[in-house]
Structures are given as C-alpha cells and as structure tokens.
C-alpha cells in the first residue's frame, strides 16, 4: 500500500494533511488513518480524494470541510472527492496510527483471523489498552462508533473500545 500512496500523494501536501484529525478519534491524523487516497495540485487547486472507513461514517463530511479549511489557511483552494473503491481496510492504518490508538485507549485491530476469534468470544486475545492484560471480554460487537466494538478488561475492569478489523 505504501508504494501506491507515494504515487498518489504529493509529499509537499503531507504536512498540511497530517494536521487534520479524525473528529471521532482526535489523536489520529487522517494520514495515519489511511483515508487519504490521492492528493495532488492540479492547476493550482489541491485535488484530494478520501475514502470512508464505513459507508455511513458521519466523520467524512467533517473531514472534507476540515481539509478545505486547512488548505484555505495556506491560501490554496482545495476540492475534496469521496471515493469508494478500493474499499478502506484497517491495514491502511499506519504503525504510528496504531500506536496513537493504543495510547488513546483504543485497542488496535487484530488480523482478520484473530479478529473473528475475538469477536466470536472464542479466544481472549484483545489486549486491554489500559493495563495490558489479555483477560478481556467482548461486551458488544458494536461500540461507540461503527468502526469499534466494546470490550471490558477483567483484570482492571475498565471498559474500552476495540477497533474492529475490516478487510
């Protein structure tokens, strides 16, 4: 994926895009989230293409507005397009993004197989972002947003969000 990203994203625009965060997970920039799929200057206009994490993700409209505002601050006109294909996957979250999630208290997505086992409650493998214990249980397959499930740690008893694997 990195190769494709380098081809489509003008490195000069990264510093602007990196300052914009997901409104529902403020510690995560939209670059680390992997939702920016294309960013180039064409005829003095920044053409940005973003893809939603989930179809109904209400954050997308806000992210679009934030991008336009961030470029306006630099006196650059920006146009934002929403693209659906290829569909977003949690694999596009960068290592830095995963680390930011964990520090923020959200367990980062496991790989597809492990994710299935965790969400079916077959194995205890989701690590509590608070205390690091793997004695955790799923409370609900759906959490505070479409992209997360709700877990609870059986050791420190804290509830936490788990970012579901999406492939």
């Amino acid at each position: 994926m990195t190769i494709e990203l380098e081809q489509h994203i003008n490195p000069k625009l990264i510093s602007i895009l990196e300052k914009i965060s997901d409104p529902e997970i403020p510690v995560l920039s939209i670059m680390d989230m992997g939702v920016v799929r294309y960013a180039q200057i064409v005829d003095d206009v920044a053409q940005i293409k973003i893809t939603p994490t989930y179809s109904g993700c209400p954050a997308m409209d806000v992210i679009g507005d934030d991008i336009i505002a961030a470029f306006k601050d630099k006196d650059i006109k920006a146009e934002v397009d929403l693209i659906l294909s290829p569909a977003w996957t949690t694999d596009w979250i960068t290592p830095r993004g995963r680390k930011a999630l964990e520090e923020y208290g959200i367990a980062a997505p496991l790989d597809e197989e492990a994710d299935k086992e965790a969400l079916l409650g077959n194995k205890k493998i989701v690590k509590c972002p608070q205390c690091g214990s793997i004695h955790t249980k799923m409370v609900s397959q759906f959490g505070s947003t479409a992209c997360k499930a709700l877990f609870q740690c059986e050791d420190c008893l804290e509830p936490f969000d788990y970012f579901k694997c999406l492939k």
Partner: protein, 251 residues
Amino acid sequence: MKNENIIQYIYGIADNALILGQRLSELCGHGPNLETDIALTNISLDLFGQIRSYFQYAAKLSGDKKTEDDLAFLRIEREYKNVLLVEQPNRHFGYVLTRQFFYDVFHLLLLQELQKSTDETLTAIAKKGIKEVSYHQRFSSDWIKRLGDGTEESHHKVQEAVDDLWKFTDELFHMTEDDRVAVESGIGVDVSKLKERYYKRVGEVLEEATLTIPETKWFQKGGKQGIHSEHMGYLLADLQYMQRTYPNMEW
C-alpha cells in the same frame, strides 16, 4: 441500458436498505439495553451510508437537478420498491432480529453478486457494503441462536416471529422487469438464483437455534411493485416529515 432503467434498478436495491434503516432508527434510545441499542442504530447507520452512495449515483444519472434527498424523501408510496419484509414494524426484540436476519442473509448474497457488476459504481458500493453486511449477518445470526436456544419465553417469541415473517421471504427472489433489463445488460443480479443458497443458510441457523422452519407454502408479495402493507404509510410519514415540512433542508 438507459439511465432511467439503472435508476429504477437502484431503487430496487437501495429502498430495502432505506426502509430497513428507518425501521432500525426508530429503536434509537429504545433498545432493550445499551449495547443492542447501539448495535441496531450502528447497523442502521451502515445502511444509510450505503443508500447515500446509491442515491447520489442515481441522482447523478437522472441529471435533472435532483439530489439524494429528493430520491430518499420525496417519492410517493407507490414509487418505493422495497420488499414487504423490511417495512414490517418493530413488534419486539426477537421480531426485529428475525426481520434483520432474514434480510441480512439475502443482502450479503446480493452484494457478493453485485460486486461482479459491469457498472463500476455499483461494484464499488457492493464491495464496501460486503464488509459491513458480513458483520450485520454475524450479529443477527448470533442473536437468533441465542434467543432460539435461550429460555422458553425467548424461544417462543422468536419462533412466532419466524412463523410470521417467513411469508415475506420469497419476494426477495422475485425478478422485476427492471431486474431483467439490468441482468441482460450485465449490471444487475439475477436474484432468483440466490434462493437456494439463501434457504440453505437460513435453515442452518434456524436449526442451530432449535427453531422450526415453517411449512407454509403461501407467500406474500407486492412491495417490489410498489404495493405495500398498511405499515408503509406511517413509516413514510415519519421518514418524510422534515423534507415535506421544510423543503430542501439539509442535514
């Protein structure tokens, strides 16, 4: 294929998600507990996300300054092409989950075929949707098993729901004229071919849930032709209220 045919074909798919999403959204704040409340409204949100993609595309094809809102909110009852199943009311939690399960199994099969469409936009929407709907199906299947194989009361209630909603399942596989045109031109899915896989999957889950598959051979139909049940008018009154009262308002 003419744009008008594609638009009609899109209604045939998207209206199901719209009406089911509306039904689920009625439960916002009224779920039996916080987790299921959030789950059902999350599913609703996924469905609304999908229909926005469908209707934005249909609005673009129609070319006459129509927006996604016009298509979703300002048609009359007879112009909605959803199946009768999805408009059935939220009688109780078991009923809601049975309706959801019956639709999810079909929805996933449909999208798995639609991703092979020759229409790039429909392919993209389907591929995106598959990820979400797989999750919906897992959720509703789990609950059917849990309720069916649960207490005497939960078993009884979900069996009642299965018996009542079963008659609406056959309509999912009826081919409309718009479906036929869409299949011929390579953009659409032949839903009649999904039937066998559907009843196999549904049967497996019901069996595991210790539920009985109804023997009824009589099935209700009409939604795909715009002939809806008595519940539809009330649902649309709710759905359309804001746009009818404050025309052109935006969220």
